[in-house]
């Protein structure tokens, strides 16, 4: 097959490209430029958009012996991922931009362009496994290395997208990938993993949001507001912008008066219009049901209430649940209670190790 290897400049995508080439595919490496003004050097935390990363990807492609190009996806990325990220925070939700990027950029804009240019598939360094099911559909399963499993952030991919994807790393544990990179002579073998949001180069999400969500523009948000006790309604303090909080958060509340029971308080709710952040005890975070919108199914969509497991955050635990199809998506009854679930995050549905689909959490019930 003629395949496009999306190469971030990290070790995983370099080994994925090398494996695809070794498997006999005609591989072309591409690095996605996601920022118009890439920084020359990293400042603080790792980011994906640096010139250094682009060079690392280029050197890996040289060594593998494949052509290499930089594709400018900055405008699409800004519109589909960064703007969405801002709008979600402005709405008091907690988005996951990696899922959004996979849904809109890597396996949409890049894949579509690749298909139009005569490529058959996109290969990435994601840790997930693809196999063909008994019904002939492509199934996506969790990676062998559960510590690295990335099926959660791929839960937005449809059958059509999966049919044009390759994840060559899903059957291997991360330490082996590093050893393999070393063996192949890839300079990125010892490069640290990226964890932070790639477009926030210093890792300070609150500070970055503060700059972008100022009082002007479409995503204007109040830069202060009350912190209110969920039970008594008493105003406990002031905060410096609701985007600094996510549901379940305990740190950074800076409430002067202790709770009557002396126990720590957590963020229970964020109401962005009035800027109200509601807090309460840990017990009040417990969630028994979810309302999910924007459903995306990897294969066949469930039509009746179905018992399954769900994962509610990246690298989060699995919860047994019943998924009930609805008009706008699906509802979830959690059989194992969850705590501190933030609207905006994805609910990814599993049947064993297989990803069934996903939705965006719109509301939770307690």
């Amino acid at each position: 097959m003629k395949v496009l290897a999306a190469m971030s400049g990290g070790v995983d995508s370099a080994v994925a490209a090398a494996r695809a080439a070794e498997a006999g595919h005609d591989v072309t490496g591409i690095h996605l430029a996601l920022s118009r003004n890439p920084k020359s050097y990293r400042t603080g935390a790792r980011g994906c958009c640096t010139i250094e990363d682009s060079n690392d990807a280029r050197r890996a492609a040289d060594l593998i012996g494949i052509p290499f190009y930089v594709w400018d996806m900055s405008e699409r990325f800004h519109e589909d991922v960064v703007e969405d990220f801002l709008a979600e925070y402005a709405g008091g939700r907690t988005p996951n931009p990696c899922l959004r990027c996979n849904e809109k950029i890597k396996f949409a804009a890049v894949l579509d362009r690749g298909l139009a240019l005569g490529f058959d598939a996109v290969v990435t360094g994601h840790y997930a496994q693809l196999r063909t099911g008994t019904d002939g559909l492509i199934e996506m399963h969790r990676a062998v290395d559960m510590g690295k499993d990335q099926s959660y952030v791929l839960g937005v991919l449809t059958q059509e997208q999966l049919a044009h994807s390759l994840f060559p790393l899903g059957d291997t544990a991360k330490p082996e990938i590093r050893a393999e990179a070393e063996r192949r002579g890839l300079q990125v073998a010892a490069k640290p993993d990226s964890h932070d949001i790639c477009f926030i180069s210093d890792g300070d999400t609150g500070g970055w949001l503060g700059e972008k969500l100022d009082s002007s523009g479409p995503n204007a948000v109040l830069s202060s507001g009350p912190i209110v006790d969920g039970e008594s309604g008493e105003v406990l303090g002031e905060h410096e912008g609701s985007w600094r909080f996510t549901i379940g958060q305990r740190k950074g509340l800076r409430i002067g008066t202790p709770a009557a029971d002396g126990k720590p308080r957590f963020v229970l709710d964020i109401e962005p219009v009035s800027g109200t952040v509601t807090v309460g005890p840990r017990e009040a975070l417990a969630v028994s049901g979810l309302t999910c919108i924007r459903p995306l199914w990897c294969g066949t969509a469930p039509t009746v209430p179905t018992e399954c497991t769900v994962q509610l955050r990246a690298h989060g635990e699995e919860h047994r649940a019943v998924v009930i199809p609805s008009e706008t998506g699906f509802d979830v009854t959690l059989l194992d209670p969850a705590s501190g679930i933030a609207p905006g995050q994805a609910c990814v549905i599993y049947d064993g190790s297989r990803v069934v689909g996903s939705g965006t959490i719109a509301a939770t019930s307690r």
Partner: protein, 398 residues
Amino acid sequence: MTVYLDHAATTPILSEAAAAMTAQLSSVGNANSLHASGRAARRVVEESRETVARALGCRPGEVVFTSGGTEADNLALKGLFWSRRAADPARTRVLTTSVEHHAVLDPLDWLGEEEDAGIELIAVDHLGRLDLDAFRAAVDASPETVALVSVMWANNEVGTIQPIAEVVEIAHAYGIPVHTDAVQAVGQVPVDFAASGVDAMTVTGHKIGGPYGVGALLVRREVQLTALLHGGGQERDVRSGTIDAPAIAGFAAACELAVKYQPELAVRLAALRDELVAGVQAAAPDAAYNGDPVSDVLHRLPGNAHLTFPGCEGDSLLMLLDARGIECSTGSACNAGVAQPSHVLLAMGCDDEQARASLRFSLGHTSTEADVQALLAAISPVVERARAAGSISRPAGS
């Protein structure tokens, strides 16, 4: 087989130039040493200086060897600006065109930001040629405040040749010095420093069949330049640094041959280029030929073909051609490999989309009929595919 159609980026080294360079590489001798080995190296450098001077119509003492075009541009622009302003603090304006190479635009930006220079980018017409009326008006407005003028001889992207004689006439009426970046012109059209009347001219080795990393600023003896590189005082004390005798020998050999064979090369390349353009337009009838359609010494470089393919992304076309062994350029500046829409095309009145939909094919001394035929055999399906991919990488409606 590689079909190389990117000679404006760099052109293969001439065997004579490679031989002249390698002959010196194994010789010891600092051209500024006083002993026999030093004198031998110095002799090579001075003979090379004379060769370059003869080829380009200047006196040997007017050749300042540099590390290439970018350094020569920096030396001309900053060196002239500083010395002219030092002589009269009122001289703070620099007049140039909106289609210069980044090696001119960026030093001028720097002068604007760090030295409070007033940088004026004079408009060009839809062919990419300087608007002489606008230029004259900018000079006439207050000639005593103009430190220098810099206008490229020929544009690197669309091949348009600038009206250097008129620029010189207008500027010299007020004693304003003129610099021209002629890196694309030498070897393609006749270039004579003295006859042109310019005060400083940038030339470089690797665009004319010489080695990389060497070039020269030709500068009139009476023109004062402030040095950028300070040290041992080599090159008239305006460009210190140990003289690179091997590279200079290779550069001089290339210069001599490029100028010698320029007339016949120009005829041959113009014919190939016309065939290329006609063939591409036959395969893709909506492809627009950018720049000046008239190809002669006053209008367009003979080796340049620049085309816009509506509905295609230039980098899609480039990648698809590259996969077929055909090498060309999107002709745009790169930042971490991210293509920006060409400032040259934007200045000529193209919109963003047209600017992104363009390719430059540039021919040189190794170009053949077979190269052109290979491109023509490939272009149809490539344009078709690129058009299907369209502008997927950009948001809808942008």
